[in-house]
Every structure is written in C-alpha cells, then in structure tokens.
Point group: C2
C-alpha cells in the first residue's frame, strides 16, 4: 500500500523502544509532512550526536570532551564512586540532585544466559581507580538477578581493596502499594526495615 521508501522508514522507526507498527507509521507520516529544513535539522542532530559523543575516559559517562561534565566538576566528591550499568543510569541518578560523588560505568551486567563475563565489563578499570583516597563504592546495578550477581562479584573484589562497599537499598517504591508489590520486593523491604 505504501511507497517502498515510506515502508522502509516505518520499519526503521520500529527500532525505538515501545514503538510498534501504528506509532512507527505516525512518526513516518510526520516526517513526510515536515518541511525539508526541519527534517535536515533532525538528521543533523542524529549525525552530530553519533560523531561527537564518546565515553569519558575516566568513568565511561557520555561526553563530547575527554572527561565528562561530572568528572571535570571540581565540586564533586571524588572519594565516593557510584557503580552503574550504563550512562542512562547516571542520568537517572543525577535527576535526584542528591548524589554528589562521581560514577563508574561498567557497561553491562554479568549474565550467564547472555554469555557476558566479568572480563567483558569495565571492572578492571574500576579496580584501577580504587586507591587509599576512595572512601566508599556504592553499587547501584539494577535489582535484578544479573544486577545482584554483578553486585556480589564486585563486592568480593572491592573488599580485597579494603574499601567500604555499599549497595543501594531495595524495597517498596515510593507511592507504591503493598498489595501490588512482588514477593521478592516485600522480602527485601522487610529485611531492610529501619527503626522509625
């Protein structure tokens, strides 16, 4: 029904998360309706971000320079390192405006099923950053099987370095309901209970 090139464009849009046939079609039709100039600006933004953005040589965060905005910020506490899976997680953490330390992106999680081994991750680079000056390493991998496995693995290695290792808390999400929570979350919430 569609011209060939429109079909191709619709297929392309399906690579985005949560975009099915219907949404891809709407996006593609918008592209056809937009004037040449606006689509060119969009293409330029796509190209530029692929060309300019690389990962910080220290922590692995997205950056256009050699050092990311966080690693070059003198006001951050460099004695506190938060370990995350990907740069996306840094963005999420930064939105809290609470954390004032620095980060380390390991670039994935240990996974038997996906065949991801510790040596595939930036763990060696993390260990190299740990010296006497580091006061605490917060492990903020996702609370999933793979995230937990990776956290335990990192904990073992880091403890050999004589550094305080902590894990972000697990429990009920704020605004959540007890009866909607899964068992594992409830168990974690109970285990992590605090005196009021």
């Amino acid at each position: 029904m569609y011209p060939e090139s429109l079909n191709k464009l619709i297929q392309s849009f399906k690579m985005f998360p949560g975009v099915g046939n219907k949404t891809a079609e709407r996006y593609a039709l918008l592209i056809l309706e937009k004037d040449e100039e606006e689509v060119s600006r969009f293409i330029e933004a796509l190209k530029e971000s692929k060309e300019k953005i690389k990962t910080c040589t220290i922590c692995g965060n997205y950056t256009e320079e050699e050092k990311c905005l966080i690693c070059s910020d003198k006001s951050r506490n460099e004695k506190l390192i938060c370990v995350v899976q990907s740069p996306k997680d840094i963005i999420a953490m930064e939105k809290t405006l609470e954390y004032k330390g620095v980060y380390h992106v390991i670039g994935g999680l240990i996974s038997q099923s996906k065949g991801i081994l510790p040596e595939d991750l930036k763990i060696k680079e993390l260990l190299e950053r740990i010296d006497q000056s580091i006061e605490e390493v917060i492990i903020a991998t996702n609370p999933t099987l793979e995230g937990e496995t990776t956290a335990l693995y990192l904990d073992k290695l880091l403890k050999e370095k004589n550094v305080l290792v902590t894990r972000i808390a697990h429990g009920l999400p704020m605004g959540g309901h007890l009866d909607y929570a899964d068992e594992l979350t409830l168990i974690k919430a109970l285990e992590g209970r605090k005196k009021m």
Copy 2:
C-alpha cells in the same frame, strides 16, 4: 547535565506526536547505543523518503512515481471518488479493504481560525476530475467543525456538477459505550438510525 549534542537530539525527537521529554530522552539514548551502521540506515531511510516521495498528480496521495499505486491500479473503480483531507486518511481507508474506488486529497480543511480558505485547498483539481463518467463522490473529511464546513462547501459545488454526493456516516464508534459518547455524536447517531 547532557552533552550539548545529546540535548539537541532530545529536543529534535520532541517533534514527533505524543513524544515528551522522557520518551525523547529514551529515543536519543537508544541512538547513542546503536551501532554506527544502524543509525546510518535510519538516516538513509529519512533522506530517501523525503527525496523520493511526492504526491500523485491525479489524487494527491503519496507516491514515488507520477501516479500513485491506487490511481495506477486498473481494478479500482474510477467512477467513485472519495474526498479526504490528507494522504494519512487514504491509508486509514485502505486498511478497511472495503473501498474499491479512487481518492482525492484536498490537503486541508476550510478553517476560519487558521485562515485556510477554499482556494488554499485542491478543490479546483477535484472539480476538474468530475465529468459525466463519475457516479459518486464520497466526502470523508473528519467529523469536526472544520470537516463539516468543508463537506458542506464541497457538496454545494459538486451538486452543480450533477453528481451524486454522499457523506460518510457519523455515529457511535464500534465497541464504544453510550455513556462515553458526547452529545453531538449521540445526536448524529440518532439522526442516522436505520431500521433493523
């Protein structure tokens, strides 16, 4: 927080319908994660669709050739013309697999508030297509104020040409509920009632 070029990319993604900050961010981060080649293919698809797709010289539908796939299809009934606002509407109509006539895209709707006058639309082109051979013109503009205004305007002009003019039915959408329907829809549904 983001590198400049990532910020720009996120802003760009917000041009798509229903895409807010959060979704634009997810799309932009996906672009960074994808390999060079896949992003290039996406850019190519964007460029190609803008370059290749034009509007059919007969009906105004999207096409890569001079005549669209529908206008060049000999099995379609050329005596039956369905008038729609935009090529998107043709796609919607075609999905029903019911309609076997041809189309005419007028490219917009008459609107006082937006300052769109009849002469801004492809109405002259529609009238030029109407000759003795045409048996019916179905007006399928949206059931909105502007769509109705345009339908009435077209009806007047087309009747002078001695052609049967019909309007698609208005009423309750299939699967809809009486108590969710707005008054106008209910009035139209009552007016359009049929013997069972």
